[in-house]
Symmetry: C2
Subunit: 70 residues, 2 copies
Amino acid sequence: MSTTTEFQVTGMTCGHCEMSVREEVSEVAGVTEIAVSSKTGKLSVTHEAPIDDAAIIAAVDEAGYAAVRG
Amino acid sequence: MSTTTEFQVTGMTCGHCEMSVREEVSEVAGVTEIAVSSKTGKLSVTHEAPIDDAAIIAAVDEAGYAAVRG
């Protein structure tokens, strides 16, 4: 069963920023789909198994941005 | 003899944008140094031999932004 979890990301300004976030979040185990918008800061992560919010937030941090559970 | 030519670039919003511009402009023959700021839009291109402004403007366009001779 797929679940989508929303996060709010601050600091993204352009498509390159979205791509950086996407790259890092896609490496988190269990993630099957990602939607991210630099305009709204919204990050939607779809996953099969439950995922740890902290793992997503850490991935966003790795990309150079800050996320909170939305 | 080194000469520096200034351009004004529109559309850059962050360090990723600067990096894209830098990458493309660095491929133009004769370019020895590049300074670029997404904050001011200023692009300074240092070159040994005379360079064609159009080649720099085309490189910036390739990166996804618009430049004019500054």
